[in-house]
């Protein structure tokens, strides 16, 4: 028995440390740049940790607390969340967000599709003029855009009402009238967002192999047939991508209403993020605002993570 035991343990005793040692040596070689690597990533990781990860964790913690700047936090369970979810004002803001998405995203996709169909069919020079022009608004700030559009919308002396007056249309209080205000904000939002959407679509359209069109032309297909049977099916992933990212961006829009209307009149332009922001500024109980922001994060963060996986799946994991 003892003989067999030693026979069995001896080789293991000889192999194990050896194996561990080899692995350790291997790791020492594999991670030979470990120290320098940590130094290189340190600044980025520390900054992200302090200003992104910690605030996110802290937000999750505070959402379960009753807290303001003047008192110690007190655990209240899910109360902040139930307060948010039972607040008709919150749901009204979410509903408004969806209306705003419907006002901005489909028109933008449609316009961008026409735009890119145009770009791929004209000369190189004209195409680059078109691309530079359509992208220019992207770099203009929300504040300046708001200033411009508010003046254009001005009731008595603005450009838009003067223009409509030429056709005998009565002036409209574009941003003063609750039924028009959201649309009046959707227009500059489209103006700002068109550039990126269009150029992504152009890039996708240029990527469609030319042979498809040549084959179709040989069969005598016209422009509509080519568009419906080649272009649109080839671009359906791009449409999906732009639809989802457009949705995420539009429902988070809040600088434009913040500067143009402050959320009014009668809350008609209080989009979800502006609702949270105004709540944070006016309500000393931070828990409610944070819970609302986190609810939005859970939904939107998941959506954008899925999109990212879908787009970069093979690039993210190597």
């Amino acid at each position: 028995m003892t003989a067999t035991q030693t026979m069995m343990t001896e080789p293991e005793a000889m192999i194990l440390p050896k194996g561990r040692d080899r692995r350790r040596r291997h790791n020492r070689y594999r991670f030979r740049d470990g120290k320098i690597a940590y130094w290189l990533i340190l600044p980025a990781v520390v900054l992200l940790g302090i200003f992104v990860i910690w605030p996110a964790v802290y937000a999750a913690y505070l959402s379960f607390q009753d807290w303001s700047f003047y008192k110690d936090p007190q655990f209240v369970g899910w109360r902040n969340y139930t307060n948010v979810l039972t607040d008709p004002l919150f749901w009204a803001a979410i509903g408004r967000g969806f209306v705003f998405v419907a006002m901005t995203v489909p028109p933008m996709l449609l316009l961008a599709f026409f735009f890119s169909s145009l770009v791929v069919s004209v000369s190189r020079h004209f195409a680059s003029v078109l691309k530079v022009s359509i992208y220019l608004p992207t770099i203009i700030s929300s504040v300046i855009t708001s200033i411009i559009f508010v003046l254009i919308y001005n009731y008595s002396g603005g450009l838009l009402n003067a223009f409509l007056g030429l056709f005998g249309i009565d002036p409209v209080a574009w941003i003063g009238d609750p039924s028009w205000a959201l649309l009046a904000i959707a227009v500059p939002a489209i103006w700002l967002g068109m550039g990126l959407t269009s150029l992504i679509m152009v890039a996708a359209m240029v990527d469609i192999p030319n042979e498809y069109y040549e084959a179709a032309a040989m069969e005598g297909a016209n422009w509509w047939q080519k568009t419906f049977f080649i272009t649109i099916p080839q671009m359906k992933n791009i449409f999906l991508y732009l639809l989802i990212t457009g949705f995420v961006a539009a429902i988070q829009q809040f600088e434009l209403p913040l500067v143009m209307t402050g959320g009014g009149p009668l809350d008609s332009t209080t989009l979800p993020n502006l609702f949270i922001f105004n709540h944070f500024r006016n309500d000393i109980n931070v828990g409610y605002s944070i819970a609302a922001a986190l609810l939005l994060f859970v939904v939107l963060g998941t959506v954008s993570a899925l999109v990212f996986r879908f787009v970069n799946s093979e690039r993210l994991v190597d």
Partner: protein, 293 residues
């Protein structure tokens, strides 16, 4: 000599000019009109802003409406440039934007290099952690970030504008993608010559980094120059204002001086427009959607 000539049929076929029927003309004219409408819609608001900068106080909004000013005046531009508050705000914002861009490029490219080229313990975990930060919407952490910078006593300083947003997962990801495409044989050659990792980064990767640095540098500069929400939360004293904050305050406090406001907006938009026009080829060329089919 005749050997190189193409088969007779093709050689002899006359080059046909494309047939330009009535339909061709309809299409061409239609395309030009459609293109002009897009260009006009995109540029009109900016053009209107520039024109309004030449108008007197009462002309920007007036009944009956006039598109062009009665007299083209440079006064607004001269006056706003002579305003020390405005010029100081512009310079202060410019300084902040440059510092922000440099800091962001430095911090993120170092991390991007490490994640692209070096192997170290917990690399995957750290990478997932970094990437996760990309999906946290700004609004979610806006409130708690504000609490954090309050605790760190950074409020009302340049640091609060420059430091918190400098590290960015998106930028690390973008630069890393570029570094992954650099052939590792270059690096191995440098290592055989006795270069350390840092030297490889500074002497091999940095000189090659111009394309991603241009795109990301402009993105960072724009983000800083156009930022408004974070500054209005964290900056309270007027002498620390950034330019967007200055314009928004100007609009609410001096609401009658519209010509001046428009001139100020033009000047505030000018740096980013110039930057865009210089680098438009790189910016537009960067927008590609490979691997989405």
């Amino acid at each position: 000599m005749a050997v190189a000539v193409a088969p007779a049929g093709i050689e002899l076929a006359p080059r046909r000019r494309p047939h330009r029927g009535a339909l061709w003309w309809v299409y061409t004219v239609g395309k030009v009109i459609a293109g002009a409408v897009f260009v006009l819609a995109a540029l009109f608001p900016v053009a209107w802003m520039i024109i309004a900068g030449f108008k007197s106080k009462t002309e920007v909004i007036s009944t009956p409406f006039q598109f062009f000013p009665e007299v083209w005046k440079w006064e607004n531009y001269v006056q706003i440039l002579a305003d020390p508050t405005f010029t100081r705000t512009m310079l202060w914002t410019f300084l902040g934007a440059v510092l922000f861009t440099v800091l962001a490029l430095t911090v993120n490219s170092l991390a991007a290099y490490a994640f692209a080229r070096l192997d170290f313990r917990f690399k995957r975990t750290l990478w997932v952690l970094v990437i996760t930060t990309m999906f946290i919407p700004g609004m979610t952490i806006l409130l708690t970030s504000f609490i954090v910078v309050t605790r760190l006593q950074m409020l009302d300083t340049l640091a609060v504008l420059v430091i918190p947003g400098a590290a960015s997962a998106g930028m690390i990801f973008f630069i890393r993608q570029f570094y992954l495409s650099i052939p590792s044989s270059l690096e191995e050659a440098a290592m055989l010559d006795g270069c350390g990792r840092l030297r490889i980064f500074t002497h091999l990767f940095l000189p090659l980094s111009k394309p991603p640095f241009v795109v990301m540098g402009i993105t960072a500069f724009l983000a800083y120059w156009n930022s408004y929400v974070w500054p209005i939360l964290t900056i309270t004293s007027p002498e620390q204002y950034v330019v967007q904050q200055y314009l928004a305050t100007f609009r609410s406090e001096r609401s009658t001086e519209l010509g001046l406001l428009m001139a100020g907006s033009v000047l505030a938009a000018a740096p980013v427009i110039i930057l865009f026009l210089i680098f438009q080829r790189q910016i537009i060329g960067n927008i590609k959607m490979a691997g989405l089919k």
